[in-house]
């Protein structure tokens, strides 16, 4: 893919994004109050399982832990073999070889690697790009990059555009998700502007957070990002994906996010090619709710393995 370009006028347009916070809050409140019919809930719970990027991003990660995670991602619940696998596993670059070995070469489960000096992004650009290439060479099929928030907050938006474009180029055909760390960006307007910038620079997915700081994903932030995706689609016809990550732990929250997606972008985005949850504990709660709907009783969390 050729390197994307943007002009000062484009950057000025990104910077001048305006958001009415009150109407965002009202919209989110309305979505949260929606009630779902039982069979829709069943369908959405299964869909949510298929949208999880099952994540482990800890200093104490080991190849064995990653292998266990890959097995769980491939077959989330042994007693329900017809459940879909999760969309992907998400690991540090050093764990990519172990994950690729566990998944094999024909797994439907994607292998996402965070890269570019995750979570802070505080490495020289050359090192960050070589990390991306290393992860892809060892089997990653998706790259979750972080942007340089420091550059962004000091006004150097052009630099952030260029780093995303450079990472896009380094990724080639591999899926690129761009993490903003929205909890550090201050306002919904900055988030809207950065969303436009990342999409223009070639992001396949825009992603809220690293999961390392609080607040992580929230519904107002997700709504603003979805709305930018919508505007971009109406303008260009290109469908960009969305990945809220961090802080989504319950099935109930996941369903609310899916309602938000359906109402903002429509059913075309209700697929794991365009919407993901970056989460670790969410999967277990989804499985608990699925067991509850099948068996009629509320299963103990202790019944499901903790990863």
């Amino acid at each position: 893919m050729s390197l994307q370009r943007c002009t000062e006028a484009d950057l000025a347009a990104f910077r001048s994004a305006r958001i009415d916070e009150m109407s965002v809050a009202r919209r989110v409140a309305r979505v949260k109050s929606r009630s779902l019919k039982a069979d829709t809930k069943d369908r959405l719970l299964r869909l949510a399982v298929s949208m999880v990027d099952l994540t482990t991003l800890e200093g104490m990660d080991t190849p064995d832990r990653v292998r266990a995670l890959c097995h769980k991602a491939s077959r989330p619940l042994a007693e329900q073999p017809d459940l879909p696998s999760t969309a992907a596993v998400c690991v540090y670059p050093a764990m990519v070889p172990a994950a690729r070995e566990a998944l094999g070469t024909s797994s439907p489960v994607g292998l996402a690697s965070v890269a570019t000096g995750f979570p802070s992004g505080q490495l020289a650009l050359g090192q960050r790009l070589s990390e991306v290439r290393w992860a892809i060479d060892h089997g990653a099929t998706e790259i979750d990059m972080v942007i340089s928030r420091g550059r962004l907050l000091t006004g150097d938006w052009g630099w952030v555009f260029d780093e995303i474009a450079a990472t896009r180029e380094a990724c080639g055909p591999v899926v690129l998700k761009v993490i903003f760390e929205t909890g550090e960006l201050g306002s919904l307007e900055t988030i809207a502007g950065v969303s436009q910038l990342a999409i223009a620079a070639g992001a396949d997915f825009i992603k809220t957070s690293t999961g390392k700081i609080s607040p992580a994903a929230t519904m107002p932030v997700t709504f603003v990002m979805l709305d930018v995706i919508r505007e971009h689609y109406l303008k260009t016809g290109r469908m960009v994906g969305m990945k809220p990550a961090g802080g989504i732990r319950t099935a109930k929250q996941a369903l609310q996010y899916l309602v938000l997606v359906a109402e903002t972008l429509g059913a075309d985005w209700l697929t794991n090619e365009r919407f993901r949850f970056g989460a670790s504990s969410l999967l277990n709660d989804l499985l608990r709710q699925l067991i509850r709907r099948q068996e009629g009783t509320y299963p103990s969390p202790r019944r499901i393995s903790v990863d």
Binding site: T297, Y298, P299, S300, P301, R302, R303
Partner: protein, 282 residues
């Protein structure tokens, strides 16, 4: 100048907070002063949420030293004594309840020694059995036992390191409200003791479906025989313990307290005959 009366809203006590039912539903009931009082009516969702809160709180409480648990149980007695005059119950009943809390506080650092044992085994091992908490205990105290029944329902599982959900009979709602205020200032960590109010049999329909609940303690006369049998049958599905408790007139004895704990047996190589290497195991 006349002054408007300040009426207290009766609330449940969950996770260290005083809450209404999420359903907004209430049961009208007469208070001791003869006024109509609206008792929150715990819903299925309230019970599910409470169980999650109690589950989270249990390891922290169970991990405290027996001495510290005893101190906190004693603090419950102190706070109860302090408020005896303001309790919606006769003074004599409060005094008995205070004494009961002190009784259990005293057991806290002794019960493990009484119920643990070193077991004779035919190999070169030291084999001992000791206690650990059973987990989350739901208690249905009897309305006839009054304040004493509530204190017993709380203190006995607490001293064994469990977290507790008390399903308060409507007749005891007012006194349970006052007891919640005692618990809130007794250094009992949030979520370790939770008091729900409302219609007991309908809440039990949900409790029977909650696999994460470890033990159910049923006071005399709280459930019909058929309802109790249904709960026992549901409990069999997940090996939940169901204890038919006697009246709270006498404190739960050592064997009764033992039923609020799991026994863990530990084998340790002692280097005797038949043992070639050291190490321990379960």
């Amino acid at each position: 100048m006349s002054r408007l009366g300040i009426h207290k809203t009766l609330k449940m006590y969950v996770g260290g907070s005083f809450i209404r039912s999420e359903s907004g539903r209430v049961i009208a009931h007469h208070s001791t002063a003869g006024d109509v009082m609206y008792v929150p009516r715990a819903s299925r969702k309230d019970l599910r949420n409470t169980l999650e809160i109690a589950r989270k709180a249990q390891p922290g409480w169970g991990g405290r030293t027996p001495y510290n648990k005893g101190q906190i149980l004693y603090r419950i007695a102190e706070m109860l004594e302090d408020r005896a005059g303001a309790f919606p119950a006769p003074k004599a009943q409060v005094t008995t309840a205070v004494d009961r809390a002190v009784h259990h506080a005293g057991w806290s650092d002794k019960i493990v020694a009484v119920l643990s044992s070193i077991n004779p085994v035919s190999s070169g091992h030291v084999n001992y059995a000791h206690l650990r908490p059973v987990g989350v205990v739901m208690v249905l105290p009897s309305a006839q036992d009054g304040l004493l029944g509530l204190v017993e329902a709380i203190c006995a599982p607490l001293l064994m390191g469990n977290s507790v959900i008390v399903m308060v009979p409507t007749e005891l709602s007012e006194v349970a409200g006052a007891l919640s205020e005692v618990l809130a200032v007794s250094d009992v960590p949030a979520g370790v003791v939770n008091l729900l109010m409302g219609d007991v049999p309908s809440v039990m329909d949900t409790a029977d479906l909650l696999d994460d609940l470890d033990t159910l303690v049923v006071g005399p006369g709280t459930l019909s025989p058929e309802r109790l049998t249904a709960s026992e049958q549901a409990a069999a599905r997940t090996m939940r313990r169901v204890i038919r408790a006697p009246s709270a007139e006498a404190p739960t004895d050592a064997m009764g307290l033992g039923r609020l704990a799991e026994v863990q047996t530990v084998w340790m190589a002692s280097g005797g005959p038949g043992v070639t290497s050291g190490g321990g195991g379960y």
